[in-house]
């Protein structure tokens, strides 16, 4: 947000045509978001799209295209480390990502057909709602081990998660697996419409709904985003809504930032990061909402 503010200030000083200042500011914002997004398990797009869409001069079509690539690149970069450290479960990600990627593709097609002000208002309202959701989300896995449901047992969605910080091992298995599929389809659709990573909703869906341990939910959410966004990104590429000049600084920034974030994930207090994310989302969401309504153009 700070860099968005700086970028706005530069524009008001009459240097709006210096393309490189915008791209430099975009890189810096993306780097900062990349670090905190992995730790908070929010994908990054949910911060990137409202911040860049509200405080930079780029049209929302291109911001959403860059946002999808942004979340995709960040999670791809963090993926190997998350998988090797067992902070993500491929077995858990595969079926849920399939539902999410089909819906995300559909969402991207719909999103690019809507009027910009409608998308802007819906984006602002969604981001504010997500901030409230993250604020109210609590870790359900601490309540104890749950029984697998039939679908979860059939897909063998279970495992052993070792938390290096807490020093405990959790034998986990999923419950409400069918509900989980529906949730990931809905989340994927919204992600495609708004160009978000949708980790904001993946984590509570995995943790609260399906009872995966919180840190495993955060890591697996990143892996799911890397799969889901791959399908929606192609819609933006084929529609011409992906400008390399915007996407590449964002991708480079988030890839570097997310590698640092993945290293910090195991030993960072997620509560602190979560509060920071909520505050930023409330400001950026309000800005997007007011911009869409024409109150704060």
């Amino acid at each position: 947000m700070f860099f968005g503010y700086v970028a706005s200030a530069l524009a008001s000083d009459g240097t709006a045509h210096a393309w490189w200042t915008w791209l430099l500011a975009l890189f810096a914002v993306s780097f900062a978001i990349g670090i905190i997004a992995v730790i908070a398990g929010v994908g990054g797009g949910v911060l990137f799209v409202p911040i860049v869409g509200s405080f930079f001069p780029f049209h929302l079509d291109f911001v959403r295209g860059a946002g999808l690539l942004f979340a995709l690149a960040g999670t791809l970069a963090a993926g190997p480390m998350l998988l090797r450290n067992r902070m993500a479960s491929l077995r858990l990600a595969v079926p849920l990502a399939l539902a999410g990627s089909i819906a995300s593709f559909a969402g991207a097609v719909v999103g690019l057909s809507l009027r910009t002000d409608i998308v802007q208002v819906a984006l602002g309202a969604t981001v504010i709602a997500i901030a409230v959701l993250i604020w109210r989300t609590k870790d359900a896995s601490a309540a104890g081990i749950v029984e697998s449901d039939a679908l979860g047992a059939m897909l063998r969605l279970r495992g052993k998660f070792e938390d290096p910080v807490e020093g405990v091992a959790i034998d986990w298995r999923t419950r409400r697996t069918l509900g989980g599929f529906a949730a990931f389809a809905g989340i994927g659709f919204l992600g495609g419409v708004f160009g978000l990573g949708a980790g904001f909703a993946n984590v509570p869906a995995l943790n609260l709904l399906m009872a995966a341990p919180l840190k495993l939910a955060v890591g697996t959410s990143g892996l799911i985003i890397s799969i889901v966004n791959s399908s929606a990104a192609w819609v933006y590429i084929h529609r011409g809504a992906l400008l390399p000049a915007l996407a590449v600084p964002a991708i480079l920034g988030v890839m570097l930032g997310s590698r640092i974030g993945a290293r910090l994930l195991a030993r960072t207090p997620t509560a602190v990061v979560r509060r920071l994310v909520i505050a930023v989302m409330l400001v950026a969401g309000t800005r997007a909402l007011l911009r869409g309504l024409g109150v704060w153009p």
């Binding site: 393309w19 791809l76 097609v109 084929h238 590449v248």
Partner: protein, 134 residues
């Protein structure tokens, strides 16, 4: 190491290699683009007047193509950058195809079906057939 862990390790290996390759190619292409080493289809200096437009107007003003039409413009540095970005979009499908033989050997039919279905979805998305390009 359990079969699941071995599979996860294999996926991580391909993901790491694919991401590094796509990342390096994207960085190189962008340096050629931003540095002005190779000419771009839409000059960088013109972008501040264009990036605030909706995508349809942008395409109209610049004459830029939709769909796979950009492949013909790959000699320009902005579209060479786009091609490298497209590689990023292919990393996941590469990982899925890479773990498929191991899954088949393990005889995990349900997981095999899911992985094949996901690969088909990703390849279909990449083809542009259903992207609604006019």
């Amino acid at each position: 190491m359990t079969p699941d862990e071995a599979l996860q390790e294999a996926y991580a290996r391909w993901l790491d290699a694919g991401t590094r390759l796509a990342f390096a190619a994207t960085l190189l292409a962008f340096l050629l683009y931003a540095g002005g080493v190779v000419p771009s289809f839409v000059p960088l200096e013109a972008l501040p007047d264009l990036w605030g437009l909706p995508v349809d107007q942008y395409l109209e003003r610049t004459g830029a193509p939709a769909g796979w039409g950009w492949l013909h413009l790959i000699v320009f540095s902005d579209y060479a950058s786009l091609a490298c970005i497209a590689l990023i979009g292919l990393v996941t499908v590469l990982c899925y195809l890479a773990i498929l033989p191991t899954l088949l050997r393990l005889g995990d039919r349900l997981q095999v079906s899911l992985v094949i279905a996901q690969a088909v979805v990703l390849l279909l998305a990449a083809s542009g057939v259903l992207a609604g390009v006019h």
